[in-house]
Symmetry: C2
Subunit: 100 residues, 2 copies
Amino acid sequence: MGILIQLSPNELETALCMLINVFEKYAKQEGKKDTLTKKEAKTLLEKELPGMVKAGKNSDDGDKLLESLDSDGDNEIDFKEFSVFVICLLCCMTFFWEMT
Amino acid sequence: MGILIQLSPNELETALCMLINVFEKYAKQEGKKDTLTKKEAKTLLEKELPGMVKAGKNSDDGDKLLESLDSDGDNEIDFKEFSVFVICLLCCMTFFWEMT
């Protein structure tokens, strides 16, 4: 079932708030409230991008992805590292968009 | 009045689609359909981020912003350049979020 939410007329502002909301939703589950632990990040991937997780050829693809996002190597993903992930997703989506 | 749209249960996927939708909405107004002209980009800023435009101290702040986004200097903003703008907005929002 979809979620009906009242969006401000500014779609861009709404989308940005949603991205922050997604990060917060999973970051507060355990440990520090402003970073994703590996477990939280895996849950985020499985819940928010089920198609991408299923498409992963190897079971450790998720771990590799998370390692690559953790650019400062502190075993946690902060919001800036998450933002880089968002950009990668956007570029992948537009790559497929340009192919259609 | 807000816009009620049916969101897929995946908030992240919905936010990403909204970002692409915002870009497409303005990019198709004139010129090439997959890039923003300066005029289209200005309209996007004014409509989608009215608060930010009003906060601009100088009237040419918008032009400076657009010039800085146009990293390949072709006088147009493609989706990848727009994605960098999205990241900057996200980081600004989290900067203020961390201050509260």
